[in-house]
Amino acid sequence: MTRRLLPALLGVAVLVAIPLSIRNSFFLHVCILILMWTVLGAAWNVLGGFAGQVSFGHAALFAVGAYTTIILYLKGGLAPWWGIPLGGLAAALVSVPIGLLCFRLRGPYFALATLAVAEIVKLVALNWESVTAGSVGYLITTLPPVRLFGLEVNWEGKPPFFAAAAVLAVVALLTTGWLRNSRLGAYLVAIRENEDAAEAVGIDTVRAKVVTLALSAFLAGMGGGFYAFYFRYVDPDAVAGIGLSMEMVFIAVVGGLGTVGGPLIGAVFLTAVAELVRDRFQMGHLIFYGLFMMLVIRFMPEGIWGRVRRLTPGARTGG
């Protein structure tokens, strides 16, 4: 028990210490991005890492969350701390029919179907102007005034966003940790290992996959909601592009598929790579992502976190 509790407490301590001690707003911005990508990597990992269902279309779920949150705020006046979970919920609802449709396919065919779904969602966002404002997109100019412990929250600074991202990242990692130890998590590993054998021993594989996709969509949708609230701008290219889907895959793979800590590690490495090269190349970070991912797959196919765990004496397999 202490082996699990100690890193968890350490993590929370670091999360509390960062905004209190660091005044450099660029560094805080990078930390916020890392936490946001942790949530998204964890969302993808739940489905891709545990259940082995490779999705190339998670941007669709991210977009549903982002649009839900921003529309609820701009048109309904609903504050982001309600809007973000509702964005997650909307993405989870949308994911159910997508799952029932796409899970009729297996392996690469499933992956291609999810790619098509993401393109469809992007086209809908572009053309359904009465709801999504088309290619113009939505912009948040001011956030609502809030007092916390008697202090006015400063939305122009980074700390409130850091706190929100930290909460979401903790939720995402706790969800993954719960999943790993649950019966559903065991079923997903069985599905990844051999789907027919899983059915033969009484596992309802379609239900397990649909439930997992909904869970994954909830996390991705909350990530999208956070994005809308932090960047204050949502348009189809920003939230439904294929690049976004790919980055979620990269983070989960580089960190370590089917592990709890993997998405956090993957987000740290890939955000660092992206920010290091962003000065010199405008979209170049994706090239470096690709290079980095090839190196990881070649030299440590179990991912960075997976490798670290294997080298730790006494580490359980599959964690």
């Binding site: 019966r183 079923y187 054998a197």
Partner: protein
């Protein structure tokens, strides 16, 4: 009443008929051998009963209740378990975890499922290998693992698809004993097998199929002398 009752079972794949108007029943507590030359449709019959393939026509009843149209997991829940001719373990998981996953069907709590899994692994003789990866087992042991997984779902009817294929003579004897012992514990068994020695020794009754149809049925020593069976296996001139 028969435990399993199959009537008029038919399945076409496109224009090709794999199983045609097949009817047979299995009594509670019986070991039924399902034999026939390669391509006779035996594995397809298993796939039809367990819901992996839907029948084009016909009925399949377990204890009077139709199982046609149920997905494989639901058929397993009703109490029909199967093994696969080409073994399908969860290769990257330990032997114990493989069987625990099957035991979850009747034991929702992990601790109970693991205990049930250990009991089945002891029964099939894999107690000493529970921590090994399934992919590292020998073929014989992988076949034992298939049986342990199927048994861990606590079936009433167990369908074994060539559990002895590829085993040597001693291993065939061990496997035969195991099948008899499974029956003694109250599980009804249907056995697809090419190892005739085993079929003759352990089945109470056999059903012979050829090209998707039933050509004979009865006690094993009688059936192998029927001209239609000899013709199916060796050609008309021998018969």
């Amino acid at each position: 009443m028969a435990l399993l009752d199959v009537q008029g079972l038919t399945r076409h794949f496109g224009g090709v008929g794999a199983v045609f108007e097949l009817s047979f029943s299995v009594n509670e507590g019986e070991i039924l051998g399902l034999i026939g030359p390669n391509g006779a449709g035996k594995t397809t019959v298993f796939n039809l009963i367990t819901g992996f393939v839907r029948p084009s026509k016909g009925t399949i009843r377990l204890d009077g209740q139709s199982v046609v149209g149920l997905r494989p997991h639901a058929v397993a829940r009703r109490g029909i378990a199967r093994t696969f001719q080409i073994v399908k373990p969860f290769p990257g998981l330990s032997v114990r975890e493989n069987v625990t996953l099957a035991a979850f069907l009747r034991h929702p709590a992990r601790k109970d499922a693991e205990a049930a899994a250990t009991a089945q692994l002891t029964r099939v003789g894999l107690a000493g290998r529970v921590d090994e990866l399934a992919s590292q087992l020998t073929l014989m042991d992988q076949k034992r693992l298939e049986m342990a997984k199927a048994l861990a779902t606590r079936p009433r009817l167990l369908l074994l698809d060539e559990p002895m294929g590829g085993l040597n003579a001693t291993e065939v004897d061990d496997a035969s004993d195991l099948v008899r012992q499974i029956r003694a514990s109250g599980v009804t068994v249907v056995l697809v097998e090419h190892v005739m020695k085993a079929i003759m020794r352990i089945s109470d009754r056999v059903v012979v199929m050829n090209q998707g149809e039933k050509i004979a049925e009865g006690r094993p020593e009688r059936v192998v002398e029927e001209p239609a069976v000899l013709a199916a296996y060796f050609g008309k001139r021998v018969a």
